[in-house]
Symmetry: C2
Subunit: 336 residues, 2 copies
């Protein structure tokens, strides 16, 4: 048996409404494993807590190490939550109420356990080990069904996640960008960035434009085929010169640039990162966003703030959750 000092390992778990994903992550942010199990939220929250622990165990086994090698665990979940209490309060996608996630995981494994909002965790993951590596501060916009996000500011010991006093920090899909003709948002409000620039909103805006279009756009073919029109169809059609699709994409870039500019004037980060499914749109889309930002933002941040795509894909959540666990342990050490 060797007595050599070994680098600490962490497990991160990212719980979603459909699946949960966990992985072992080393001290430099590299994942050693990544496993996914169905959440089966309808089976109740006790089942859900058990499934979380099962996914963590499978991730450790898949990494080929024993649980005794793990220094800390981080768990990220969606939903309305109390981050300091480590609890999910409720969730739109999971019929769970007041779930003591952190306590359960901590007691099951007897390891320091961090709890975080899934969007914040994804931001912290990108900051630690992805597009934000080396940055002092960062704002992540995640473009999917909604517009999620997370904010990391420069703190005393590296980046500080803006959790907010009521666990509502970084809800940047719900900044208001329009008052005169505000679109209804999934959150129940209106005028939110998400109502304009999520993948869902892109498809919806395209359907509206098609209803008023003379039939020239190739996207009419998607509707006729009976398929559901998605943002992917819109970006693909724009890429081959479809005029209506091109207009929708251009407007989406503007909306995202408006959101990015507001965050640049509030947080003024090193770096703005766009992640989520919509980044399949490619570099041209990012360039459009950058162009609008240069015009909209104050000259100094407009010139200096880097705007890039995320790098960790669907792993950002569990890597960021692991980073939260790592931070917990490091803070304890630094306080000794």
């Amino acid at each position: 048996m060797t007595t050599a000092k070994v680098d600490p390992l962490y497990v991160g778990l990212d719980v979603g409404g459909t699946n949960m994903k966990a992985g072992v992550v080393d001290d430099s942010g590299t994942p050693l494993s990544g496993v996914s199990l169905p959440t089966e939220a309808h089976r109740g929250q006790d089942f859900g807590l058990g499934r979380m622990c099962e996914t963590i165990r499978e991730a450790v086994a898949a990494a080929g190490v024993g649980m005794e090698r793990i220094s800390a665990i981080g768990v990220a979940t969606p939903g309305s939550m109390d981050i300091p209490a480590g609890m999910i309060l409720k969730s739109v996608n999971m019929p769970w109420v007041n779930v003591p996630v952190r306590r359960h995981v901590q007691e099951t494994f007897g390891l320091p356990t961090a709890f975080q909002n899934d969007a914040n965790a994804a931001a912290y993951g990108e900051f630690w080990a992805g597009a934000g590596r080396g940055a002092r501060s960062m704002v992540l916009f995640t473009l999917g069904t909604g517009v999620g996000g997370g904010i990391i500011v420069a703190g005393d010991d590296g980046g500080l996640v803006i959790e907010g006093e009521h666990s509502h920090g970084g809800e940047i899909g719900h900044i208001k960008i329009e008052m005169t003709r505000p679109r209804s948002c999934g959150c129940g409000g209106s005028g939110c960035l998400e109502a304009y620039a999520s993948a869902t909103a892109v498809a919806k805006r395209a359907r509206e434009a098609l209803a008023e279009d003379g039939g020239r756009s190739a996207l009419h073919g998607v509707l006729r085929s009976g398929n559901e029109l998605t943002s992917r169809h819109v970006f693909d059609a724009a890429a081959v010169g479809d005029e209506l699709a091109g207009r929708i994409v251009e407007e989406t870039a503007l909306y995202l640039a408006v959101g990015a500019t507001s965050l640049m004037h509030v947080i003024d980060p090193d770096l703005i990162v766009f992640g989520g499914g919509m980044i399949a749109a490619g570099d041209g889309f990012l360039d459009r966003i950058r162009g609008h930002v240069r015009r909209l933002a104050f000259p100094v941040p407009a010139e200096r703030t880097r705007i890039v795509y995320a790098r960790l894909g669907g792993d950002a959540g569990f890597i960021g959750a692991a980073a939260c666990g790592r931070r917990l342990v490091r803070e304890k050490i630094s306080r000794l």
Copy 2:
């Protein structure tokens, strides 16, 4: 001569385009003096630097103490700046370029000297010794010629001012709240909160409404008298039931609530504070803002985030500057 330990004192200086104000502040945030001298910016930046030191000396004299009692100095200025470098880069209201403010003050007095943006300093002053006393985090909106502001988040050692990576953090007057019919903003952009909700914008919107009004509003009398219509006239007329003025005030409350809601969804602070001249509008105006926020924001922050008026008035800037000096000294002590 006594050898008893005496509480440390700090000097804060708040430089404005017209006047600069300084005061000695004790360790609990209470000002022992407050003096004001004209900036006379047109006399050049060397004169300006000399005037800063003169104002600091007068503040110390007015407090009835000697300079040897001062532990640190803080200086807050307007303009485009490099906060870490302690420099004003340029300023709209002062014909100064690349002014090494912190170095000059530090070398003149031989004391630890902090440098901060004036709006951030006002926020930090309110946080330390005013409306934010006891809060963990706070966003200040200062309603005057423009909409200024500052953001304090919960940090490792009390509040952390969001300075931003390019000294543009907390420019919350320049979040974008409208795209369809964006108003032009003094910053050169459009759609900014400031273009809707500053005192200047309130007067402008009232003049526009009067031009389309049938002559019933009492505000026509102000215009006929040859006086310049100000936001004060609008709030006063609204208070006695003038319909047009009432509509302008109500819309202003909505615009500010939209801005506050976006900040609640980004920062999610304990406390939102409104300061500046427009708070003379009184509690009824604050209640209107609160009412809109309750409707616009997510339920938890809508219910729990306190929304109040500032308490330090025009002293917030120098008290906050002093607090920045105090923080500098305390950080040094805590690192020993």
